[in-house]
């Protein structure tokens, strides 16, 4: 028994050290540690924050970053009404066609459309951004070590470069980014966006909201997963307990 515990502990140590390994080997500063309402086994998205985050994304980030896995219909999942989602969709122009005359045409977005990309292609995106490519943000929270905390730290972590650092052309200094020089100018500051619900529009709050939103875009099924998970765990605990009882009973006959 003791040995099994020891082995389990060793294995756990092993797993945690392997996953911690790659972080330690980058020169980037360790991300700030925040609590997220969608964290933990019972976590759910903070709807209000996610909706504000959508607002931030549309106002501030969508000029450079796409969100290609999100369709306007998905916005219903974060609590927008169908009419609200339709209005947002209609603000975008979408290329469609060919029509009966064989022509491509433009029309306002509909619920089933996906968020249009800000640039026609990667080359165009680089051309407008000093040669750097602004990544699609749909999966960004899952695509970076540190997830939400990392993205939040990038957004709030800009500072003046130390005296011994000379920034390359078009770069900003951010200690949380690998090698500290990032090709994105600080995208948010205090009061970058206005909030209609009266929430304080500090830099930190704006960053938190947009990260909550991006956590949702990275995994819209997160709540369904955790809800099912809790039920399955409860079921398995009971089942296993029963099986243990049966096992004891059957084996008692042997001795």
């Amino acid at each position: 028994m003791l040995r099994s515990v020891l082995i389990a502990a060793l294995a756990a140590l092993f797993v945690s050290s392997v996953s911690a390994g790659a972080l330690a080997s980058s020169n980037a500063e360790h991300p700030k540690e925040l609590k997220w309402s969608h964290g933990g086994p019972f976590g759910t998205f903070d709807r209000a924050s996610v909706q504000r985050g959508l607002h931030v994304y549309r106002e501030t980030c969508s000029g450079c970053h796409g969100l290609k896995y999100i369709a306007f219909r998905n916005l219903l999942e974060i609590g927008l009404s169908e009419d609200q989602a339709k209005i947002i969709a209609a603000e975008y122009t979408v290329k469609d066609g060919p029509n009966d005359e064989g022509e491509m045409f433009e029309r306002p977005g509909k619920l089933f459309d996906y968020m249009p990309a800000p640039f026609a292609n990667d080359k165009a995106a680089r051309a407008s951004n000093n040669g750097a490519l602004p990544p699609d943000l749909s999966l960004i929270v899952k695509a970076r070590k540190g997830g939400e905390n990392y993205i939040y730290s990038i957004l709030t972590g800009y500072m003046e470069p130390p005296a011994d650092v000379t920034l390359a052309e078009g770069m900003a200094y951010n200690p949380y980014f690998p090698n500290h020089q990032i090709a994105m100018a600080p995208p948010i500051d205090d009061q970058t966006v206005e909030y209609v619900d009266g929430t304080e529009n500090s830099k930190e709050q704006i960053a938190r909201d947009v990260v909550s939103f991006l956590a949702w875009t990275a995994e819209p099924t997160l709540e369904a997963r955790k809800r099912l998970g809790v039920k399955v765990m409860l079921y398995l605990f009971v089942l296993t307990l029963v099986l243990y009882g049966v096992k004891r009973k059957v084996w008692a006959k042997m001795h």
Binding site: A22, R225, G229
Partner: protein, 423 residues
């Protein structure tokens, strides 16, 4: 598989079938009356768990395959489509990805169990071989499966590993181009990997069948490592081990479910959520955790060709283990020196796994080389250990050892601990 059947039935349909295809007596012999040593501990649960995981991987995989598109431009999107739009697609995908990890965890424990209790020794050498073949096929399957979502780590992992074959003298480049179906990892590579990833699990299934066939000839080994001497040493598989296996499956399912529902990306690499880009190399290319010890051995050798040889040798040396180990005593319980070496080897494997996940620089290189040397030293020392080690006295039979441990209060080890010459 052979032998006189104890199966009886009065049901006319059962009798009709049984007369033409004796499938009922087959199942009866394999899973019901099948005589099993009385004294198996929980480390013997891993075999049935591995079987369950193979079935889980096949079922989730086949359904994933209905929604997945093996095309370089569409694979990543189709995986996200599974995650977002397919009903319970996220569950299937996370189950399959984490299922791979759980499968390997179980099989690793299964292999270490076999090494600790000497299950590879006569007359189970072929059983052991079939196990190693399953293990190698699993590695091939998982490696190709990991390429399918076509993320950055999929692409670069595939590039690094297939490139290893370029170390083969003269033919290297030709082999690599043949594997790729072109001049780099690209559409043809993805397409064939999907095909093979779909095929290999069924090959594994067939080898598992042979593995069980071999098992049922000489029956399970046991923690004492001594042969079954008569009916008093065994109990029928059902109900004793069916219920014990089921209980084990419950515990296992709890761990699996926790990973699946609450930490589904813990063992994955974030880089694999970035679509494959042949122009951008990730800073650290790391394989899945279950390959890390072998990856460490590969990188421990400064020369590419010898690195590849060492890596394959570390795997293939398992085939000769039954002959490297010259001791007649199976279980490490009665082999004080082997027992120590075994635990050293176990820790060495963990250390190698850790090193495999680190960048190849500084102290990590030194530790990786030491770990690699120790890995092989373990195997090469076995013939000598067998000659000079003085094992403890073996109990007379499984049933006496079980009786003593339940009666006098001593453990089976304790009962047999009176130091004497090897029996």
């Amino acid at each position: 598989m052979s032998g006189h059947s104890s199966f009886q039935s009065n049901n006319a349909i059962v009798k009709w079938i049984e007369y033409r295809l004796p499938i009922f007596s087959f199942v009866n012999e394999a899973l019901v009356v099948y005589p099993t040593p009385k004294n198996l501990n929980y480390w013997w649960n891993m075999g049935s768990l591995a079987g369950v995981m193979l079935v889980v991987q096949i079922i989730t995989g086949v359904v994933l395959g209905m929604h997945y598109t093996p095309h370089a431009d569409l694979a990543f999107d189709s995986t996200e489509h599974i995650m977002r739009d397919v009903n319970y697609g996220w569950l299937l995908r996370y189950m399959h990805a984490n299922g791979g990890s759980m499968f390997f965890a179980v099989v690793y424990i299964h292999i270490f169990r076999g090494m600790y209790y000497g299950s590879y020794k006569a007359p189970r050498e072929l059983l052991w071989w079939l196990g190693i073949i399953i293990f190698i096929l699993m590695m091939a399957t998982a490696f190709m499966g990991y390429v399918l979502p076509w993320g950055q780590m999929s692409f670069w992992g595939a590039t690094v590993i297939t490139n290893l074959f370029s170390a083969v003298p003269i033919l290297g480049e030709t082999i690599v181009a043949w594997l790729w179906g072109g001049y780099s990892v690209d559409q043809p590579t993805l397409n064939r990997f999907f095909s093979l990833h779909y095929l290999l699990p069924f090959v594994i299934f067939a080898v598992v069948f042979l593995h069980l066939w071999a098992l049922h000839v000489h029956k399970s080994n046991n923690p004492l490592g001594i042969d079954i001497k008569g009916p008093q040493d065994t109990i029928p598989f059902h109900p004793y081990y069916t219920v014990k296996d089921l209980y084990g499956m419950g515990v296992f399912a709890i761990i699996f479910a926790w990973l699946l529902f609450f930490a589904p990306n813990l063992l994955g690499e974030p880089d694999n959520y970035i679509p494959a880009d042949p122009l951008v190399t990730p800073t650290h290319i790391v394989p899945e955790w279950y390959f890390l010890p072998f990856y460490a051995i590969l990188r421990a050798i400064p020369d590419k060709l010898f690195g590849v040889i060492a890596m394959f040798a570390s795997l293939f040396i398992l085939f000769v283990l039954p002959w490297l180990d010259t001791s007649k005593v199976r279980s490490a319980r009665f082999r004080p020196v082997y027992k120590m070496l075994f635990w050293a080897f176990f820790v060495d494997c963990l250390v190698l796994g850790y090193i495999g996940g680190q960048p190849a620089e500084g102290i990590f290189i030194v530790i990786g080389r030491l770990g690699t040397a120790l890995y092989f030293l373990f195997f090469l020392s076995l013939p000598f250990i067998g000659w000079f080690e003085r094992p403890r006295k073996l109990p007379a039979s499984i049933s006496t050892a079980v009786l003593e441990s339940h009666g006098g209060g001593g453990t089976p080890d304790g009962a047999a601990a009176k130091a004497e010459d090897r029996g």
